[in-house]
């Protein structure tokens, strides 16, 4: 979102500058054209109006067009076209407030093809905007659309352009257009050259598009360019795969890490682990819902607020579970499976009863939305933050378990409860705390997972099996194992998926786990020594 906002701001500034520069001779004309939206007949009427605005060629139309694209261009009951602002109705040309916000505004309906048309028209109109960022994006839209009619305006813009980056983009746009429209082999060859230097997915698209119709020598030239781009992209693809693997791995890790404590450290076969994750996700939902209703400005902070709450909620439920049920079952670890299975059924149904069976909407705060490009890799913010978060959780837990005195007591209790008690360790308290910690961690994993998965009563079920796989694959009782296990499975999965497909890839991973356990019957980070034999 921030990018968009910057863009919007830039446009306003640019428009301001333009308006000052040029006489408002066209303003009336533009205004009149915009007014036609009110009477436009269906989609084709809207299209015609946009075309007309494009033909006038005045950037004054940009504000209205943009509003149209964002569904903010409305028609008042008395037939005037206005922009619906945050708290008032604005003039579509000047942006000045024209009226109070009234009821019964009618939206001017658009559809995808119109949206594309709007984008292209705006690009054409903003080729000379003051802000280089705007010009750049205009050039890129034109590059992708390669509309021959734009050739002249682009060339004109190119001639006037000072900024070297924008110049390059404009040159590429020109090349793309020429490739689509020219017959001159020389021009085409040069265009291919320019485009293949660009080297990204969009460039590949343009060249492939050309290749479909090219013949003879030109086809060869295009092939060469395509190949060059493809080799480059293939390298990035590998990087991209690794990234996907890491991000999948960190999701697996997060889902599993709570289990690494309740199951790995405490030995409780915790079938309700997934439900703890689910509770975390629902806590996020409740937090966001409250924020949406009462404190909308806090929305970007919603996850940070949800984290401690989710920890507390899930931890508290874990605490109750431990005190109420699990503590009667120490020394009978296999029976914990039965009891926790019962708990998981109850929690699921409880959530279903309270929140309904449907998915609940958990939004991404702005810093978790969208993606950024790293070379040809696209990295989504949500994934990046989840990876960071996973690492953070890992380090914190590692410290808590291996360095803190509570961690020491936890380990002592789980290895020999009776003796630990004889050493003065308050075993009931440590048990409760450990279980609450594991559950709490599962809860905060739920906060992260709510960002990429659906928040429904079934959320937990989806993760429980994977979580057990990860913990066992990595080696029970070892946090490093869980981390490395999660990442390994993630990366392996992502490298298999493109070849084997998602389904077969998953099967292969499972077979791999089975075989791997044959090789290392105690997981990746097996505990060694006589103690475990």
């Amino acid at each position: 979102m921030p990018l968009l906002r910057i863009l919007a701001l830039a446009v306003t500034l640019a428009l301001g500058a333009l308006a000052a520069e040029r006489a408002s001779a066209d303003e009336a004309q533009v205004s009149a054209a915009i007014q036609k939206f009110a009477t436009a007949d269906g989609f084709s009427g809207v299209e015609a109006t946009i075309q007309e605005l494009g033909a006038i060629g005045d950037p004054l139309a940009v504000r209205a067009l943009r509003a149209l694209g964002e569904n903010e261009l409305k028609v008042t009951p008395d037939g005037a076209v206005v922009i619906e602002g945050a708290d008032a109705l604005l003039d579509p040309v000047t942006g000045e407030t024209v009226a109070e916000k009234g009821p019964r505004l009618e939206r001017i309906r658009i559809k995808n093809s119109i949206r594309s048309m709007i984008d292209e028209t705006i690009s054409a109109l903003t080729l000379r905007a003051a802000d280089p960022v705007v010009r750049m994006s205009a050039a890129d839209t034109i590059f992708a659309a390669a509309d021959p009619e734009q050739l002249e305006p682009v060339q004109a813009a190119l001639a006037a352009e000072q900024d070297p980056d924008v110049r390059r983009r404009l040159e590429q746009a020109v090349a793309a257009i020429q490739l689509a429209s020219s017959d001159d082999p020389e021009i085409i060859r040069a265009s291919i050259e320019v485009i293949s230097q660009r080297g990204d997915q969009a460039a590949l698209g343009v060249l492939l598009g050309y290749r479909n119709q090219a013949t003879g020598e030109m086809a060869d030239a295009a092939d060469e360019g395509i190949e060059a781009i493809e080799t480059r992209l293939a390298m990035w693809q590998a990087g991209q795969n690794i990234w996907y693997g890491i991000s999948l791995g960190s999701v697996l890790f997060l889902a599993a890490i709570g289990l690494a404590i309740t199951f790995g450290v405490m030995g409780v076969i915790n079938m309700a682990h997934g439900e703890m994750v689910m509770l975390g996700a629902y806590t996020t939902f409740v937090v966001q819902e409250t924020i949406r209703n009462s404190f909308p400005w806090l929305f970007d902070w919603s996850l940070l607020i949800a984290l401690p709450l989710a920890f507390l909620v899930a931890g508290f439920v874990g605490l109750i579970m431990e005190r109420g049920i699990i503590r009667h079952l120490y020394g009978r670890p296999l029976e914990t499976l039965l009891a926790t299975w019962g708990v998981s059924l109850i929690l699921q149904q409880a959530v279903r009863t309270i929140f309904g069976p449907n998915n609940r909407e958990v939004g991404n705060p702005s810093w978790m939305s969208g993606a950024f490009e790293l070379g040809e890799m696209s990295i989504t913010w949500s994934r990046l933050w989840i990876v960071c978060f996973a690492l953070f959780v890992f380090v914190a837990l590692l410290f808590a378990i291996n360095r803190s005195s509570l961690g020491l007591q936890m380990r002592a209790v789980t290895q020999n409860r009776r003796m630990a008690s004889a050493m003065g360790i308050r075993t009931p308290w440590v048990d409760a705390l450990t279980f609450a910690l594991g559950s709490g961690i599962a809860g905060i994993a739920g906060v992260a997972l709510s960002q990429i998965d659906n928040v429904s009563p079934n959320l937990g079920r989806g993760y429980i099996i994977d979580s057990f796989m990860v913990v066992v694959f990595g080696g029970v009782g070892n946090l490093w194992g869980t981390l490395v296990g999660g990442l390994t499975l993630g990366v392996a999965n992502k490298f298999l998926e493109p070849y084997a497909g998602a389904v077969l890839g998953k099967i292969l991973i499972l077979v791999f786990i089975i075989l791997f356990i044959q090789r290392r019957p105690r997981g990746l980070f097996a505990l060694k020594g006589r103690a475990v034999e």
Binding site: L408, A412, S421, A422, G424, R426, A531
Partner: protein, 231 residues
């Protein structure tokens, strides 16, 4: 310091203790002897709170222990060196020792030097896993671990089992040292007669869940008393 009165204990339907009476005096070494399976370990279990007695009472420093949990008793000052060592197998030697910190205020959370003086081997093995140690090394660790708790009373359940002769002597010296220098009270269960006679201030002999003899260490030389220990 510790009084056991009329304690009975059952495992399911089987009775292991039948009205045991025993007193451990402050700053003294009290030794409990008996053949296999007569109930010595069971008595220790009821004292440290690992198995609730089915009757009778146990008083420590004047307060009845009643149903207090094992860890409360440990915090009140009862240390245990259990039979079978019960080392935390996956904790390092150092961590095993540190488990004794649980009941201590943070200023006391150090390992007393005499632990390493008594058992130098522990010092060289601080970072090995407890479960990897040899049987005898584990026994030394178990004793060291109990000392870290700074208990007022330590119950030793066959501490010399599986220990090399020189260290048995060391342990003997250690027990004396603890009594003399630190005023520790000691309850010692032993099969090793000579060891007992040398250390004990007072002995009890148990048979079939009952105390059948009580007297000074020297009484061990009495063949009548010895008879309780033969097969």
């Amino acid at each position: 310091m510790l009084t056991v009165e009329n304690v009975t204990l059952h495992y399911g339907a089987a009775q292991a203790l039948r009205g045991v009476n025993l007193t451990v005096e402050q700053g003294k070494i009290t030794c409990l002897l008996g053949r296999n399976g007569v109930g010595k370990t069971s008595l220790i279990r009821s004292i440290v709170g690992q198995h609730p007695p089915s009757g009778g009472s146990i008083t420590f420093e004047g307060t009845a222990l009643g149903k207090r949990s094992s860890h409360d008793r440990a915090r009140a000052g009862i240390g245990l060196v259990p039979q079978g060592r019960e080392i935390f197998p996956l904790l390092t030697v150092k961590e095993n020792l540190q488990t004794g910190y649980a009941g201590l205020p943070s200023k006391d959370r150090t390992i007393p030097d005499y632990v390493f003086e008594l058992f130098p081997i522990l010092k060289t093995m601080l970072h090995r896993r407890g479960g990897d140690l040899s049987g005898g090394q584990q026994q030394q660790l178990a004793i060291g671990r109990a000392l870290v708790m700074r208990p007022k009373l330590i119950a030793f359940d066959e501490p010399t089992e599986g220990i090399q002769p020189s260290i048995i002597k060391d342990i003997g010296r250690a027990i004396q040292f603890l009594r003399d220098e630190h005023g520790l009270t000691i309850l010692l269960i032993e099969q090793y007669l000579d060891f007992c006679r040398e250390l004990a201030d007072h002995i009890y002999i148990m048979d079939r869940g009952e105390i059948v003899h009580s007297g000074p260490a020297e009484s061990l030389d009495d063949p009548e008393v010895r008879r309780h220990l033969t097969v």
